[in-house]
Symmetry: C2
């Protein structure tokens, strides 16, 4: 009998009524013959409420204790869903991360899964129980409660599916993966299929449906993932190996990210080490640099532009000030008003001229591009946010998104 | 260095401000030189809110899942208290029941502690940490989360103190043990000392400060217990061995219980087995019979009166109806309007005439007594609730309470 791991996010279990509806769906699926493992997130806004309790006591709560606190959110959900299932005659038992032996390593509040004890889950499945598992949480080798950080419940679900040789179904409040976020471009198409690689790029680039970590695990262990709306009203999107997807489009999707800031250093001393010093100092502060563009040196001076998460702007500027004391003076320009557009598609690997088509479209619409970066299956560029909607429409039409 | 186990109840940690105040008190105590283990309950009304969520899904939620649900309340408290302590520079780490190896046996939602792994707590104390422990919860041999039922956090605290050879301090929103509940008799005296035996009787009889189970463990392992108000504003009450209490009073306290109902069966067939059949059928339904009084048989008929928790009246009447089919007809009278008064005192063991003094006082005040039961250190009787306040005052004056 096939094992299916389902995951229901916080909005899917945000109230008792919603929990009852999810329970009915699980029961029906069970009766259709599947062995079910169900991963749930904390109800609705619970996690944020718990975080604000912690910050009501300390500006810097201990991560170890935050994990003890936050993991209660999922524990409430698993108990309630299990109660709802048993109430309608569907045998279910709930398990915390610790109870299914979900072992983690790394730091509190952003731990990584390194193993799951499949025997607990398999024993329950053999007893014909639906196994309800708390997402987002685990335990480390010191027997301390840990959490997996953003997208943690997706990661739990995909990792469990990998361990159990199961398929993974992610139920959420959006009904699949679109070529473009429908809020930005209402006539965007829903994708029937997307490859792990494309989905990972899309997720990293601001398409918020799933966290890139979970896709990465799915890719590594070839877990078939299906993303669909929690009401089951419409078909969702399959994420799978690219070679299983027959017809490759050039561009599968367009992602827009409005959370970056751009920093430009002008009159920057150009020595053998100066640019690497710059990025090393940012890395030491754990600031993630995304796009980088550097001008040809003029004399012993160059300009370097790069983008970082807007939230990291203050520490990034501190880095630059302390860098001045080491390598000499330069000027700093910041721009928090940028939009990053990225087009993603496996087809780029084999079809040439995609970049040319993209930049022609933008030029025809008088849209100025500031920084450009590319990977094998992606082209990203930053533009002025006032041009964003025009750019999205133009690219969508050009590439039939 | 002395180890102290402190317990703070739900009202003591009912808000972030209260948690901060408790943290300040713990820090001061730590700085005065104690090694501290702190047991906390769920914040304020959390447990009831969680219960009502469960009952919003099912009239009969699975006890196993209720335990998963309810144990989150204490887990939130330990994390928050630990965050508050670290914030003010007092090193603290939180532990769930499972993490300190608090092993239980028996049924979900009313499990009993059978062991605690003291090594985890001792290791943390050796590292100079305040050890924050979730009350009310443990884990059974199947690795399932369990809870300890009413008064569970007191039980956790006293059991930990027993295991660690520590003293146990119970902080609550009342400031000690009184001879009589001050709400019933405002001029009641606060006791400096009370024996385990007396406290156990008082607790069983409706004096709600501590649960009898925790006193029982304290008595068994001779754990010194101190009950005081969580603000530390006034001295509390010590619970200890009776032979350590120098001056014994005849009557230490008076407890009033208004939660019982009285059932009288009249014209009850009087055979060798009929009365035992009656009480066996109640026991099978887990209905706790408290006071019993039986008249002398008239012919082959007798009358039997007994008290039970008022909440159990409906199933108790079902028992009687089904008994009629087995032993023949009788009539049933119920009275939900009764008050049970109990006077408790170790002095009764050695001083005679206490019962006579008690019933004289009641008679002088024209108060009719319905059922009477006695133990070595207690006399209980039921009266009409309209006489309750007159009876309490008269007894208090007679025995100087």
């Amino acid at each position: 009998m096939d094992v299916v791991v389902q995951k229901y996010g916080g909005s899917s279990v945000g109230s008792l009524d919603k929990i009852k509806r999810v329970a009915e769906r699980i029961k029906k699926r069970k009766e259709s013959g599947a062995k079910l493992v169900v991963v749930v997130s904390a109800m609705g806004n619970t996690t944020n409420e718990l975080i604000s309790l912690a910050y009501g006591l300390s500006d810097n709560p201990r991560p170890r204790e935050l994990d003890v606190l936050l993991s209660t959110g999922e524990q409430v959900s698993i108990a309630l869903l299990s109660i709802a299932l048993n109430e309608i005659g569907c045998k279910a038992r709930s398990f915390t991360g610790h109870q299914i032996g979900l072992m983690t390593e790394g730091f509190h509040t952003k731990s990584k899964i390194y193993d799951i004890d499949a025997s607990v889950v398999n024993k329950e499945l053999d007893r014909d129980n639906v196994v309800i598992v708390a997402g987002f949480q685990g335990i480390n080798t010191n027997n301390e409660i840990t959490t997996l950080g953003r997208g943690g419940s997706d990661t739990t679900a995909v990792a469990l599916a990998a361990k159990l040789g199961a398929v993974c179904e992610i139920y959420t409040d959006v009904d699949g993966i679109y070529t473009i976020d429908p809020e930005l471009y209402p006539s965007a198409r829903k994708l029937e299929y997307i490859s792990y690689e494309e989905m990972m790029e899309m997720a990293s680039l601001g398409a918020d449906v799933m966290h890139p970590r979970s896709i990465e695990i799915g890719h590594k262990y070839s877990v078939p993932i299906y993303v669909a709306v929690n009401t089951g009203e419409s078909p969702g999107t399959y994420i799978k190996e690219s070679d299983e997807i027959m017809e490759e489009t050039v561009i599968t999707g367009l992602a827009v990210d409005n959370n970056d800031a751009m920093v430009t250093v002008n009159e920057f001393p150009y020595t053998v080490n100066s640019v690497s010093e710059l990025f090393k100092s940012l890395a030491e502060r754990h600031i993630n640099v995304d796009m980088i563009s550097q001008t040809t040196p003029v004399g012993d001076r160059i300009s370097v532009s790069y983008t970082i998460p807007r939230n990291d702007l203050a520490p990034a500027l501190e880095c630059l000030e302390s860098l001045k004391t080491r390598i000499g003076p330069f000027t700093i320009e910041t721009n928090t008003d940028i939009a990053k557009l990225s087009v993603v598609g496996m087809g780029m690997k084999t079809q040439s001229g995609v970049a040319a088509r993209l930049f022609s479209v933008l030029a025809e619409n008088n849209i100025k591009v500031k920084i450009i970066t590319t990977s094998e299956i992606r082209i990203s560029c930053t533009i002025d946010p006032k041009d964003q909607s025009k750019a999205v429409s133009a690219i969508a039409e050009e590439f039939d998104l």
